[in-house]
Symmetry: C2
Subunit: 222 residues, 2 copies
């Protein structure tokens, strides 16, 4: 982390100072007081304050028993960018859309296809996990569902041929269900289902993980 600037390196200390002084006022403190409050030795605080001052992030004015300290507008600007960065994380749920479906029991075809090694290998490679060889079937509103898919880029699992038959490609979409975020929705090019039934795979058994029974309503976030 050699390229870290003084602000980044001392972010926590500066935050502590700002909490003490406010952003628009000066406050009086000493290196010893700070070392007790913030941690570290008096010497280390002394050095860090010198670094911060040299970088133009604080201003110090000696004072008979310590110093008067001011957070500069440069430091304020830095703090603001951090604020914005973290805020953005919480502001944007990065949710393209949600859809509610009903849990249905399948006939086990999904499980068969998923377990094929040619698919399995690609799941591991492209999704980052080995799926449980079974699927969760979900009945959804086809129109709403298609609308959401238009805004998403699928992870594509290639099809393959054997001597006996051809297996189509599968479009996969990462989804989040409650707090579980490793589920993947599969849309096979040639589906055995009508358009209103979708299948989910995951590294875990979703029925157990999410405590589901047939008929349960389930919200999926894309």
């Amino acid at each position: 982390m050699s390229e870290l600037n003084v602000f980044d390196k001392n972010f926590l200390l500066l935050l502590h100072l700002a909490k003490n002084c406010g952003l628009d006022r000066s406050c009086r403190l000493s290196t010893l007081k700070l070392s007790n409050e913030f941690g570290g030795s008096q010497q280390t605080i002394s050095r860090k304050l010198r670094e911060l001052e040299e970088a133009g992030l604080i201003e110090r004015f000696p004072y008979s028993s310590g110093m008067e300290l001011v957070i500069t507008s440069l430091a304020k600007k830095y703090l603001k960018t951090y604020l914005n960065q973290i805020q953005r994380l919480f502001d944007e749920p990065e949710l393209i859309g949600s859809i509610v479906g009903k849990v249905r029991s399948g006939l086990g075809e999904g499980a068969y296809y998923v377990s094929l090694s040619q698919y399995m290998k690609q799941f591991r490679e492209k999704l980052g996990f080995t799926p449980f060889s079974g699927t969760l079937n979900l009945e959804v509103n086809e129109v709403e569902f298609q609308k959401i898919l238009l805004n998403l880029t699928p992870v594509k699992i290639d099809g393959f041929k054997t001597r006996k038959r051809t297996f189509g490609s599968i479009n996969c979409y990462r989804v989040k269900i409650k707090n579980y975020n490793r589920a993947v929705l599969m849309i096979p090019k040639r589906s055995v289902h009508k358009g209103n039934v979708v299948e989910l795979i995951a590294p875990d058994v979703l029925r157990d993980e999410l405590n589901l029974e047939d008929g349960d309503e389930l919200k999926i976030d894309f």
Copy 2:
């Protein structure tokens, strides 16, 4: 800073990860990719990720060319507390009140009192600066002004006696004017002014620093 926890120590890395992955999704990356993006060596990133994982701040799932990474709800909670801390800094201007006054030229009495060594010594000790031996006179609305003072704790400059006469104590209030935050408003116990005129001192010449002329309106933040 030995008492820093894993989160604090790796706050910036975790923020970087969160920006990449989002708070509710997983993302795929490798230690090499991260070391290029974030800085530091592949080895250092590897170690830090292990630390973060051990502390329950991230979860990792091996993947053929790297790993799949998830920000845990614990890390989310930490990020949220930081967000709140920084937000509070910007939310609360810590402004008790403001008042607008008009710049007036004084007769130089203020300058005389300020320059007295018995006062000057205390200014240095209690305010943290050596004031310019002159004051800026400001005409204010007395009622509004008194209302604000009620909510403030003054820095008290003690009075003293000489053989010839007695000098009263002075209440001082730190104020902010535009971006200048080292000005101090003085309220002498026995003032030569009527209650609608106040005097300001500062380590710098306020008239020059703030580019002021008689009659100018000036906003003071407490």
